[in-house]
Amino acid sequence: MNAPENTQTLSFIPASEFKQRTTEAVADAHLRQSFRSAMDFLMAKRAAQFPDADALEAQRALAEHIRRYSLSRLPELLEKLERQLTANGIQVHWAENAEQANAIIVGIAQKHSAELMVKGKSMVSEETELNHAMEAAGIAALESDMGEYIVQLDGEKPSHIIMPAIHKTKQQIARLFAEKVPGASYTESVDELIGIGRAVLREKFMAAEIGLSGVNFAVAETGTLCLVENEGNGRMCTTVPDVHIAITGIEKVVEKLEHVPPLLNLLTRSATGQIITTYFNMISRPRQPGELDGPKEVHLVLLDNGRTQAYADEQMRATLQCIRCGACMNHCPVYTRIGGHAYGTTYPGPIGEIISPHMMGLAATHALPTASTLCGACGEVCPVKIPIPDLLIRLRAEATHDARPGHAPLVGQGAARSALMDFVWAGWAALYSRPALYRAFVWLATRFRFLTPPMQSGWTVSRTPLKPAPRTLREQLAGRHLKT
């Protein structure tokens, strides 16, 4: 059991395809324009929220402290959360992987003979591909966050964790609604488009037997599930249907309610540049005797799906500090150019590059940590100070090496290793550790430079060929010395 067999095979995408998708994405001028302008907007909005660098630093230090403290006591806090939620009348379920989580949720829905589930925004349910599992069981699963509703209607997946439909223009959405929503006529007015979505979804909130949501913070001491949202669909999903199921990763727990305000403050400011969202919803109990509304049953599904693998390593544990604000992707030069879909994973951008290998294994994801210039912007804006660049470097090493002594191998450990690469590096090491050999090599390389091929595989696609200088650096320096 120590090597968790909980990698998710559902959304397996060969790493080789990542490069092809990025090439396509970079060539799509329209997509690049969408992301460039949206990310510029979000970066400016965030920056306006933090005029005082020292104050921001103090807040980040506190938020990091809270997250590190919570993780340091994670098993204990999870048990405490379970105890308190159970005492409050909320049923707690545990799932090691996506399949188990989906089975739990399908089971609850079937017990209630449900035909329709409305979903508030939940990236964890995207991670488990819950919608497929529900549909396979004959239960409709409808996304109700406006952005998620739009991408679901078009048979797509979110391209950003906070703004799922950021890759689409209003003209595309207007055509989509006119085509797919019965009775909707073509309009490019954003207010009218939102009105169409509102009208459709209100009927669904009323009809659904089950409402599903994610969780932003789970408070162990009080047994409270906290949800952050602007649209009100989260409140609809957690209040109108008879049954509310919340699903969350095991890392989202904090000990006390007092730990929430500092995290909430940085979450909304970092994500969308808002001081607070329209709704901050704290759910501690199902409908009580005498209450006239609210769900009669509330469930919480706690999902591992590779998180314990990250937890097992002291350095990679920091990955789990994440509060899912999306600031790292908003500031990532690679994400801005290729967009969210190119990654092929639930979580795109820098956070996706460091969390996906634990969820899906390095065999499927080893290319992701290389999709970074290591410029450091992600680590600099992260509100909980996850050292993302360090973790990218670490995962690059894990993808090409055996596990460090005393460390259990990661799922897919060494998956990016190739005999050719090992040979090249062994040769490099031999040259650079033997001065005589090195001198002989550079002498030959400079004298036979005319043999350098003009076409050098991927390098020359957009660059001039590499060619050794006519004389070695050593020779050039010696010559210069003589002249002066």
Binding site: I66, D191, T224, I276, A312, R317
Partner: protein, 228 residues
């Protein structure tokens, strides 16, 4: 072994790492407060109004003597034909005496009248537990007398806020409710911070109001007699 036990066992098998002491959040906020200029009631009210207006919350200044009549007039001007209220709520008697047209009591479980609530209820009226100046936020605590959906489903939400109950920050608001303290009171089944009407920017980051919840939030800001 159950999923629960294997997850917990894997977590416990991990190296403990550096000892992390509990963060002292109250001390952090106390230090921030010491550096900031002291606020008074008038400043809190002013900041609350500014921030709530930024969220498109509509502020109407009222007094204990005139708020119900003000609400009646607002209902007329906004064309409200049905106003949902809690018949056992703290303001029921005042509302019933105000002569508001189409006053509708929330007096039975939602399951019995869901379609009417969704399709045929123009506005809802609730009390609030307080406000937050820094963020422009209402603290709403639905209960058996004023149920959860009153502030969510009707297109207009009227909320009565006592100006004396406005705190500076979310942390102070949670402390004022007794949720953060050495001996915290039990959290209500559902508690809410509400900052403006529902909204979305999911289409081309263009802000639109009235996403799924209320399209309008009207705050009846209760001041002392002669203060407004």
């Amino acid at each position: 072994m159950s999923a629960r036990d294997s997850i917990l066992r894997r977590l416990r098998a991990a190296p403990p790492g550096q000892l992390v002491l509990p963060p002292d959040v109250p001390a952090f906020y106390a230090a921030v407060r010491e550096q900031a200029p002291a606020t008074d009631r008038a400043a809190r009210i002013e900041l609350f109004c500014e921030r709530m207006s930024f969220w498109r919350g509509e502020i109407v200044r009222v007094t204990p003597g005139n708020w119900a009549e003000t609400l009646r007039v607002l209902c007329v001007t906004k064309g409200v034909n049905s106003l949902l209220y809690g018949p056992r709520g703290p303001h029921a008697a005042t509302l019933e005496a105000a002569g508001i047209k189409g006053l509708k009591p929330y007096d039975r479980p939602v399951d019995e009248w869901k379609p009417e609530l969704f399709r045929d209820t123009d506005a809802g009226f609730t009390s609030t537990r307080g406000g937050i100046a820094e963020t422009g936020t209402l603290v709403v605590w639905p209960d058996d007398k004023e149920p959860r959906l009153m502030s969510l489903v009707p297109p207009i939400h009227f909320a009565l806020l006592d100006a004396n109950a406005i705190c500076d920050t979310p942390f102070e608001a949670m402390s004022a409710q007794g949720w953060i303290s050495d001996k915290p009171v039990a959290m209500p089944s559902n508690a809410l911070f509400i900052s403006g009407p529902s909204k979305t920017a999911d289409i081309q980051i263009t802000l639109a109001y009235g996403a799924h919840g209320p399209k309008e939030l009207v705050i009846l800001l209760l001041l002392g007699e002669g203060e407004s």
